[in-house]
């Protein structure tokens, strides 16, 4: 990946919390428009990894860079790329309303006005005119407010720790839409989750933390390809290669199917099809559907 697009870079990062070596020699990059998932057992250091990006904790060894600039003590709030984060439970001033809480935060850097705050609150399905204090909110409402807090200033980097915790089905659908928008806008996203479905759905790459070290689980997200052929036997031939093929509606009268795989681009896909002797009318990459 082009280095300039790497918005987050961990270089030989180690971190000890108390007597426990939580992270050991971590190397990781997250590019613009990419979603990286971090999985692992409880207490393995997933949240610690996210907190290192925010600058709220500092590595013992190694370096964390945000948009090419090292995260150092005192640099918080002055990082070149803005960071939006929802780490652990959402934390708000309990006696104030959701809008008041987010307005206080927005007033700090004044990148957005109250209207933008209201739109962010509406985006997560909450009512910005709800004057009830946050202490009366349900878990799901607080989680939604936490997501609104993370996205409202249109950050370059998003850090999510169990983002759909407490969300109902409607909330999860809203979150899917938000993820799609953020990735399309070029945000680099790091997501921690115990939910396999969530990780599979959203993440391009997935890593596991085990004994303080990072292990790749999935290096590349499968892409979906719409393959349009002259006849059904070509599609059958693709299926016989052991690939996952889903027959779809005909396109311009031609048989078509969607195939998932690790081909990086159209040329690679076309090469493969030629190799196996399949003649195509067209091959198109299909957008990942988060829903």
């Amino acid at each position: 990946m082009d280095k300039i697009n790497n918005l987050v870079e961990f270089t030989k990062v180690s971190k000890k919390l108390g007597n426990k070596q939580v992270l050991n020699d971590i190397n990781l990059t997250v590019a613009s428009g990419e979603v990286v998932g971090i999985v692992g057992p409880n207490g393995c250091g997933k949240t610690t990894l996210l907190r290192l990006v925010t600058g709220l904790i500092y590595p013992d060894r190694g370096e964390v860079r945000v948009s090419g600039r090292a995260v150092r003590l005192g640099l918080i709030g002055e990082l070149p790329a803005s960071v939006g984060a929802l780490i652990e439970s959402p934390a708000f001033l309990p006696q104030l309303s959701g809008l008041k809480n987010l307005t206080i935060l927005a007033d700090i850097q004044q990148k957005i006005n109250e209207q933008a705050v209201r739109e962010a609150i509406k985006r997560v399905g909450l009512d910005p005119d709800n004057r009830k204090p946050v202490k009366s909110y349900s878990l799901g409402m607080r989680q939604r407010l936490g997501i609104a807090q993370a996205i409202m200033e249109k950050p370059n980097i998003l850090l999510f720790d169990e983002p759909t915790n407490g969300l109902d089905q409607e909330g999860k659908i809203l979150f899917s839409g938000i993820m799609k928008e953020q990735v399309e806008q070029g945000a680099a996203v790091m997501m921690v989750s115990h939910n396999k479905e969530e990780i599979n759905r959203y993440c391009d790459r997935v890593f596991m933390i085990q004994n303080g070290t990072l292990h790749p689980v999935r290096e590349q997200r499968d892409k979906s390809w719409l393959i349009i052929t002259n006849n059904l036997s070509d599609l059958e031939h693709i299926y016989q290669q052991g690939l996952l093929l889903q027959i779809t509606e005909r396109v311009d009268g031609y048989p078509a199917g969607i195939c998932k795989g690790k081909w990086k681009n159209r040329d690679e896909m076309m090469s493969f099809l030629t190799e196996i002797g399949v003649k195509t009318v067209d091959v198109r990459e299909v957008e990942n559907d988060y829903i």
């Binding site: 709030g77 001033l93 007033d107 700090i108």
Partner: protein, 270 residues
């Protein structure tokens, strides 16, 4: 960035219910003092009886003026617990992702100082107006018995009694800055809101009794917010504001140091 943080904090402090509650409590204690000062129906009204003295009496100058006993608590309630709430709720992490820790703590200290100063100044001015409505003006200042003239900056009282009241209010407002700083200082290590709000008040009372018991009464805190006006120490005019300014500076420094130390420890040790 510091100006933005400070403005945000000031807006946040003034528009919460606690500030209103603190204002009502302060007004209630002034009204209590006015009622204690009010002469009985058979007592003739003389030049010694006027709204300036009513205000000073309620302010703590009089035997039944109870305001000094609760003054520190009122100020802490209005302006001292913002940092504690940020830490207790976890909101501080969202703030610290948007600004540096130095800007944050300086903003907190400046805003607590401004809020406490303005809160006390406006509240006491309001209470002075209440006194002016209820009690007569000085008919002839030369007819006031010398024992009633304040010991503290007495000549200012004789020449310009309203300016004198402003001086007293100014001194109170400066003491409020110190009190709010004590609360913010306590908040650097303690998250319990009750402890943060109560500490300056308990400190005032405890220190007052300790200093009285060892015969160092000149700087007893409860006197420095009320009885200094008439007591026998004859403080110089600038002595009282100087004391509060120096104490505030000491606590500014301590607060910054402790917050920075705790923050760095947390950043490095998690």
């Amino acid at each position: 960035m510091l100006t933005k943080i400070t403005k945000m904090e000031i807006r946040r402090a003034f528009f919460r219910r606690q500030a209103l509650v603190a204002f009502l409590i302060m007004s209630a204690f002034f009204i209590q003092g006015f009622e204690a000062y009010r002469p009985g129906p058979l007592v003739p009204v003389t030049a010694n009886h006027n709204f300036y003295f009513a205000f000073l009496y309620a302010h703590g100058n009089g035997a039944s003026g109870l305001l000094p006993l609760v003054f520190a608590l009122i100020v802490s309630l209005a302006a001292g617990d913002s940092l504690a709430w940020d830490k207790k709720s976890g909101f501080i992490q969202y703030v610290l992702m948007r600004t540096s820790y130095k800007t944050y703590i300086v903003g907190k200290m400046v805003s607590a100082s401004v809020v406490s100063f303005v809160f006390v100044f406006i509240s006491e001015l309001f209470c002075f107006v209440l006194a002016a409505i209820q009690f007569p003006n000085i008919s002839d200042i030369n007819k006031i018995h010398s024992s009633f003239i304040p010991k503290y900056a007495g000549s200012l009282f004789i020449d310009h009694p309203f300016l004198y009241i402003l001086l007293i209010i100014f001194n109170s407002a400066l003491s409020a800055v110190f009190i709010s700083m004590v609360s913010v200082f306590v908040s650097t290590t303690v998250k319990n809101i009750y402890i943060v709000v109560a500490t300056p008040w308990l400190l005032f009372i405890l220190l007052h009794f300790v200093l009285y018991s060892i015969n160092l009464t000149r700087y007893a805190p409860l006197d420095l917010v009320g009885a200094y006006i008439l007591n026998h120490f004859s403080y110089r005019t600038l002595e009282i504001p100087f004391i509060w300014i120096v104490l505030s500076i000491v606590f500014y420094t301590l607060t910054y140091f402790f917050f920075a130390r705790n923050f760095k420890a947390r950043v490095y040790n998690g």
